[in-house]
Amino acid sequence: MANQRRPHDMGGAEAGPVEQTEHAPESWEKTVDTILRLVSDKKRRIMTVDELRRGIEDLGPGAYDELNYYERWIASITSNLIAKGVITVEELGAKMEEVEKSWAEKA
């Protein structure tokens, strides 16, 4: 039944006109794509595209629609990397703080 569909499963649903917007990919978006391509390549095989998708689908209906495309990707990639023990929550928190601090200093 339609009301039991998960938020990503939208084929055939009602929706408005296709807004033909596009933007040149930003650097951080290409970085997200880069991370996925590298961690899923033959050399590493740390995660798969299916795991990326599962992570995105597990974001839940609110986050799925609130986050933009590459925000969903990095959210999923990060949870996968944490679940697999490649990085830890603590390391991520500390590194984000560092990144934000150095960004603020440069501004």
Partner: protein, 216 residues
């Protein structure tokens, strides 16, 4: 970029950041992205060189690669057969790596028009055509193109004759599609480069059709 803190001893890997971001505040997810890439570099999971090289690959990939294949297929029937058999193998003839996922070209004819989508996410032959446009990933396109494709195509200015069958192909993570458009009338005698110039990304998605130069 300020250099007063990193001007001697290159023990830090260069930040994989670009100037276009640096004038704006960092969002939570941008910060997460930069943190993850730096952690992966520190842990030697990936290298800064690999990150830079992959950015360059992404920048170098554009619909022009697909357009070359289409133009060759229009000009060379034997090549067209190979393209329809395997886009990846046909691209390799041009020295182009079309990526790890198989891509199939769906041929438009006078009786059949093809269009591609990924209803569940945004699967797209991006290793060949570059990153997909925003609208390809949008809720409206993904929802509606499988239900009322003629109406969606009309929004792109494409009116198909009623006797043309419209076939929608839903891509998956393991299988991608591109459209081999129908060569338009009025292009006899054009060389491959001129032909490639009329093959746009949207033609290879199937929401538009190529037009002969000077027509409109």
């Amino acid at each position: 970029m300020s250099d007063h803190t990193h001007d001697h001893g290159d023990h830090h890997p260069p930040h994989p950041m670009q100037p276009d971001l640096e004038d704006t505040p960092l969002t939570y997810h941008q910060s997460m992205t930069l943190a993850v890439v730096e952690l992966l570099i520190e842990k030697n999971v990936i290298s800064a060189d690999e990150v830079r090289a992959m950015h360059e690959v992404i920048d170098a990939t554009s619909p022009a690669l697909g357009a070359k294949l289409v133009a060759r297929a229009w000009s060379d029937a034997e090549f067209k057969k190979r393209l329809l058999k395997s886009v990846n193998d046909a691209a390799a003839e041009f020295g182009v790596d079309a990526g790890p996922v198989p891509i199939r070209a769906m041929e438009n004819t006078t009786g059949v028009h093809n269009v591609i989508v990924c209803t569940l996410c945004s699967c797209y032959p991006k290793y060949l055509l570059g990153l997909p446009p925003d609208w390809y990933k949008s809720r409206a396109y993904r929802s509606r193109v499988v239900r009322e494709p003629r109406a969606v195509l009309a929004e792109f200015g494409t009116q198909l004759p009623g006797d043309v069958d419209l076939v929608v192909h839903d891509s998956t993570a393991d299988f991608r599609y591109m459209v081999l458009p129908l060569r338009p009338a009025g292009t006899d005698g054009l060389g491959e480069e001129e032909l490639a110039a009329i093959v746009t990304r949207d033609c290879m998605i199937g929401v538009t059709c190529p037009k002969a130069p000077g027509s409109e």
